[in-house]
């Protein structure tokens, strides 16, 4: 308790003193080992929302790799096979464009939400918050409430202390390993992976990534916690660029709360010259980043609203009106009108909708066949027995459609081009890649230069699919 109050205090006491001592003190305090934050458990509307967020997001994360679709894993980013399965769709490295679109949509969505509602992402949906919540929950189950955790940490080592700490870390590690296993399950078939994991039969690389991700989870959610938000998160640094006076923030109502001070429940606060804040510091105790919201909007605030729940609870007990700490906007606090629809929000919304619509359109209308033309690197060209110039290519065909297709291949670009291939029937099953070696021949007289542009055309015989891919045809030096 005294520890918490002191978190906000050093600033105040430093400014009262003067001279170089202050700088020294500040420097030392910043160099000091990080003080562990013991967030106090909190109940209320926003805590319930966050718990719901944790349950839904973690639930999705752990369940999705187990879902099946048409006899295969529903969501699988199959890196070894270089195919990404998402429900009924299959994506290839050639579809990288869609990943870029997805990232742009996510970023715009974040901008939009931030401008409108502040850091709700941080407070309810960020993986760091979500996993930290889960780890805190385990910690509370094992070590007990906040005062008990603090007492335990101060105790000298004893069998009891070591037993409790060991239990906590054991549970953390088990949970982290399960998290790591699930993570790798998105990239390597989950069922196989899990079966092999129990019998220690995973491949070395899979094993490595399971442990690596587990270690990252354990370190970030168990040890680093709010430091990730403060030192590692780029979003936290630039989010103020998206804020304006109409953005929803969590704020302490100074005009109502100050001057703060303790009083009896029965006391007449107006007579005592006090505001509504009873200075119980519960809002500081519940804060996962250890700040005092009463000092105003701070960079460290992840907008989790734990202080709102905590303060509302205290206000209820005191018989005061709720909302001394609440979601509000800077304009409202200053007694001005808050504009929800403002140019910034409308602009973000329009760009977001435009890009999302474009992404959907292009995914729905993409040509489900891809062709790569790879020139044989071993020889530039050769002369056939008939005196023709021949180039060899490997045509890589991918059928990204849901059914099998038969295609016809032709080549254009130089007069009297001949296309020779070993098989006549180019049939490719759904989701299959074939490599088709072809030879292209032409009379040297038809070549105008050393390097000629040609193009291969692929048509599906049973559909309207049609794609063209350019290539180069090399011949002897210009004559």
């Amino acid at each position: 308790m005294s520890k918490d109050a002191s978190i906000a205090e050093p600033k105040v006491s430093d400014t009262k003193e003067g001279g170089s001592q202050v700088d020294d003190a500040v420097e030392q305090s910043l160099y000091a080992k990080r003080q562990k934050i013991y967030p106090r458990e909190v109940h209320g509307l926003f805590a319930a929302l966050r718990t719901a967020g944790v349950a839904i997001l973690l639930g999705l994360y752990y369940i999705v790799p187990w879902l099946q679709w048409d006899g295969r894993q529903a969501v699988l980013f199959d890196l070894p096979e270089r195919k990404f399965y998402v429900l009924n769709m299959v994506f290839w490295p050639q579809d990288f464009f869609y990943l870029t679109l997805l990232l742009i949509v996510s970023a715009l969505g974040l901008f939009f939400v931030t401008a409108l509602a502040g850091r709700v992402w941080c407070g309810y949906a960020c993986p760091q918050t979500v996993w930290t919540e889960a780890f805190l929950w385990i910690e509370r189950k094992v070590e007990g409430s906040r005062p008990r955790q603090m007492k335990l940490d101060k105790e000298p080592n004893s069998f009891r202390k070591i037993r409790i700490k060991a239990t906590k870390h054991f549970l953390w590690i088990v949970f982290a390993l399960f998290t790591g296993l699930t993570f790798v399950g998105y990239f390597s078939p989950m069922r196989e992976l899990a079966a092999n994991f129990v019998t220690f039969n995973n491949g070395p690389w899979e094993m490595f990534w399971i442990y690596f991700y587990a270690l990252a989870t354990y370190g970030n959610a168990g040890w680093l916690r709010e430091q990730v938000c403060m030192y590692m998160c780029p979003y936290a640094r630039f989010q103020s660029a998206m804020f304006d006076k109409d953005t929803m923030i969590i704020s302490f109502d100074e005009s109502r709360g100050l001057p703060k001070g303790p009083r009896k429940k029965t006391a007449d606060k107006t007579a005592a010259g006090l505001g509504d804040c009873i200075d119980c510091t519960i809002c500081v105790q519940v804060c996962p980043t250890g700040i005092d919201i009463r000092d105003g909007l701070q960079y460290q605030c992840i907008g989790c609203a734990a202080c709102i729940d905590a303060c509302d609870d205290v206000m209820d007990k005191m018989g005061y009106e709720r909302g001394l700490i609440r979601y509000t906007t800077e304009n409202t606090l200053q007694g001005k009108h808050t504009h929800i629809f403002r140019p910034r929000v409308i602009l973000y919304a329009m760009i977001l909708m435009g890009v999302t619509a474009g992404a959907f359109y292009s995914i729905l209308t993409r040509t489900p066949v891809a062709m790569d033309v790879i020139r044989d690197r071993n020889s530039l060209y050769r002369e056939t027995n008939d005196g023709l110039i021949e180039n060899v290519y490997i045509i890589k065909l991918m059928n990204m459609d849901k059914q099998a297709h038969t295609y016809s291949l032709s080549v254009q670009g130089i007069p009297e081009l001949l296309l020779k291939k070993d098989i006549d029937d180019i049939s490719v099953k759904s989701g299959e890649v074939i490599e088709l070696p072809v030879r292209v021949q032409v009379d040297a007289d038809n070549l105008k230069q050393r390097s000629n542009e040609i193009s291969f055309t692929l048509d599906a015989l049973d559909d309207e699919l049609h794609i063209v891919e350019d290539a180069r045809f090399l011949g002897p030096a210009f004559k």
């Binding site: 490295p93 390597s188 070395p204 899979e206 680093l224």
Partner: protein, 93 residues
Amino acid sequence: MDAIPLIQRVVAILWPSFITAGIATVLFTTAFDPAVVFIDHDISRMGLYTISFFLFWAFGAITAAATCYFLKPCEAINKARMAMSENTDSVKE
């Protein structure tokens, strides 16, 4: 400059390089199939992705570390040298 906690310094080197290594790995392995590029080595694709990622991470971390190192103000270097040559305990001031 001296008021930056150790964890922040470590993170400033390891974290941005981690992100860029991830991006670089995705771009690199999308453009070039590592199984084709390193066809002579008997390593699975998963292994090649892993190796590329850690190589990119190492390069990024080296760059970030060098940047941090050169960001040190000249005055700080002078001070440190003076402190060393005097070898007194008045450095603390």
